[in-house]
């Protein structure tokens, strides 16, 4: 799950969103944007309308993924969660304040073009509350490789008819819709699918973000031997099943880590009370054990049936009204693909302290924060 989403984007520099030295030290620092990507499912991350032609369908967007497990934190020798701060290598004695940090693009070795918040602000997509459907395509033509992150589109209780009509039509005709929308100042291409009367959205990668087999440099096929193909077919048939048993697709790692921690807690071993970690994702806040999921499904049911469902709390206590941001997903995700050696190289360039002792995940998190 991508964390520190906003930082991935060009727009995000120290400003307020970045853990500026000030923020990092403040005890009451707001949760990082990581929280957004990990938000519990039963909270709308965006609301607006699907439009196509003259038709307007009011919808709310809900994440179709939920966080699981406990993120690993960096702790001090006594178990206290650490804060991150920025210093100038020339004067390491004091942390830098937010307004002492600028954003620079390295055009040549050591030569930077400075880019200000205002400049980036000026070229940001304009605000919009619409998901405008610009094309309908054969749904089978959109390869899942394009998908970044899934959402549910939940209709407004009073206006579910247009929603149902759109969903039903798309399903009957085997079409998916392509659209573009703006969430928290960032644009996302999105594909909308209809399944069993429910609309879902998948944010998409951009066209130049996927490599082809040629880009990767895979060899061209030899003459394919029919006997071998037949043998492979038999191997495939031997494994054929009609359905996917989803219980086989559960990564037990997160649960095991929690179990290990719970056992230590029960023994009173290595347990430390400390102020809640602030810079990393807020802990159990969004931890979903299934409760919210049921709520979400109940919510969709009620809305679809035109019942007056209680409106869910909208992002209570969150400063950004407009919900989630995961554009950085692409970028964070790209780091995931690097070898540890490559990550170490990057970390070295960024002067990240403690890099040689970090796990891959820690390296990725640190690189994202620093770049």
């Amino acid at each position: 799950m991508p964390r520190s989403a906003k930082r991935g984007r060009a727009k995000s520099k120290p400003r307020k969103a970045e853990p500026s030295p000030k923020d990092a030290k403040a005890k009451d620092a707001k949760p990082s944007d990581a929280a957004a990507a990990d938000a519990p499912v039963a909270r709308a991350v965006w609301s607006g309308s699907i439009t196509f032609g003259l038709v307007t369908v009011p919808v709310e967007l809900y994440s179709a993924t939920r966080r699981r497990g406990l993120p690993l934190r960096m702790l001090g020798p006594e178990g206290v969660p650490l804060s991150r701060e920025y210093v100038c290598p020339e004067e390491e004695d004091r942390p830098l304040e937010g307004d002492e940090i600028e954003r620079g693009y390295e055009v040549r070795d050591g030569e930077f073009v400075l880019v200000s918040d205002e400049e980036l602000e000026a070229i940001s997509p304009r605000r919009s509350r619409d998901i405008e459907l610009v094309r309908f395509v054969d749904r089978a033509a959109i390869d899942p490789s394009w998908f970044v992150r899934p959402y549910f589109l939940v209709p407004d209780a009073d206006q579910s008819k247009a929603y149902r009509l759109l969903a039903e039509t798309m399903e009957r005709t085997g079409r998916a819709a392509l659209a573009h929308f703006v969430m928290r100042g960032k644009g996302y291409p999105v594909a909308i699918f209809a399944d069993r009367g429910v609309l879902r959205a998948e944010t998409l990668r951009y066209g130049d973000e996927l490599r082809s087999a040629e880009d990767v440099g895979l060899p061209a096929p030899d003459d394919v031997d029919a006997k071998r193909v037949a043998r492979m077919r038999r191997a495939i048939d031997a494994l054929a099943a009609d359905a996917l048993d989803e219980s086989e697709l559960v990564d037990e790692g997160a649960r095991r880590l929690r179990d290990v921690a719970e056992r230590k807690r029960a023994r009173g071993e290595d347990v430390v009370e400390a102020p809640a970690a602030e810079e990393e994702a807020p802990a159990a806040a969004g931890d979903s054990e299934g409760g919210e999921v049921v709520d979400l499904l109940a919510l969709i049911r009620q809305r679809l049936q035109g019942g007056a469902a209680p409106r869910p709390k909208r992002a209570a206590g969150r400063k950004r009204g407009e919900g989630e941001d995961e554009r950085g997903a692409t970028r964070g995700a790209a780091l995931q693909d690097e070898t540890k050696q490559a990550l170490l190289e990057r970390a070295k360039q960024l002067d990240i302290p403690g890099r040689s002792r970090m796990t891959r995940d820690e390296l990725i998190a640190s690189i994202r924060r620093a770049s």
């Binding site: 499912v41 003259l54 406990l70 459907l133 899942p144 066209g207 494994l239 002792r357 640190s366």
Partner: protein, 263 residues
């Protein structure tokens, strides 16, 4: 030639094919460095104890989890190892299921598989040909970098690809969703909607998925690097409905009136 991320044996029953794993996603984002404004030196980050503001040396940093709000459990290497899956170099294909059996929300991230060595080519291409554009998708399990991973094994033309799948407890699957109900949709409405959808029908063309914001950022940097005063490129106007659609809309509105009168 892209560098392989990992080597493994792709196993289906008693068939084993040595493969290499390659990233299919490439990072296109514009990356900035944080600089100290005064001297434009890239800043360093360091970890500090928030109570004292004292730096904690990297070798003194420990790892742990926040098990309850404000309650931390420190985890040693042994603890972390206890939670890790057993290391392996096998990508085990356990099932082949119909494409439709995998909920869209599971798909996470694509990779290419390539044959590892000339010996592997014959089996590799034979397997890709056998999977073909068929309706069956392999469901694979493997452990990479101390993490359990799942993926859908598919063919991309003559090559094999692996799209990772999210863990089931991370996904709210649409299979749990109710059938929608509500006031009945009339045949006339259905016909109109179908017309509208048909009017906007087009092939899926990834080239149209352009990151215009990134293009504007790049133009801005380029102008500034060349010492030009950046002419901040304006955002393109949102796409307009085609002429065809307008015609359909006119017809649809007329038809809507008609059906209202009839009702």
């Amino acid at each position: 030639m892209a560098r392989a991320m990992w080597k493994a044996q792709l196993a289906l029953g008693d068939v084993e094919i040595p493969v290499k794993l390659y990233a299919a996603v490439q990072d296109r984002d514009v990356h900035f460095r944080l600089l100290h404004a005064k001297d434009r030196v890239p800043v360093k980050q360091r970890m500090v104890d928030p109570r004292s503001g004292e730096e904690v040396a990297p070798e003194a940093v420990r790892r742990g989890v926040e098990i309850d709000s404000g309650l931390f459990v420190v985890l040693g290497d042994d603890d972390l190892a206890a939670a890790e899956p057993e290391a392996s170099r096998t990508i085990e294909v356990r099932r082949f299921v119909p494409r439709a059996a995998i909920d869209l929300s599971f798909y996470a991230r694509p990779y290419f598989l390539g044959p590892d060595g000339a010996q592997a080519c014959a089996d590799y291409f034979a397997l890709a040909a056998a999977i073909g554009d068929g309706e069956r998708v392999g469901v694979a399990h493997w452990v990479m970098r101390k993490k359990r991973s799942f993926g859908a094994l598919v063919a991309r033309g003559p090559h094999l690809a692996l799209v990772t799948l999210r863990s089931a407890d991370e996904v709210v699957a649409a299979g749990q969703l109710p059938q929608p109900g509500g006031s009945e949709i009339r045949a006339a409405e259905r016909a109109l909607a179908e017309q509208l959808v048909a009017a906007l029908d087009a092939p899926f063309d990834p080239a149209q998925l352009r990151d215009e914001y990134r293009e504007r950022v790049e133009a801005l940097i380029e102008a500034k690097a060349a010492g030009r005063k950046p002419k901040l490129p304006k955002e393109a106007a949102p796409p307009k409905p085609s002429g065809d659609l307008a015609a359909v809309l006119k017809r649809s509105l007329a038809a809507a009136k008609e059906s209202r009168r009839a009702a």
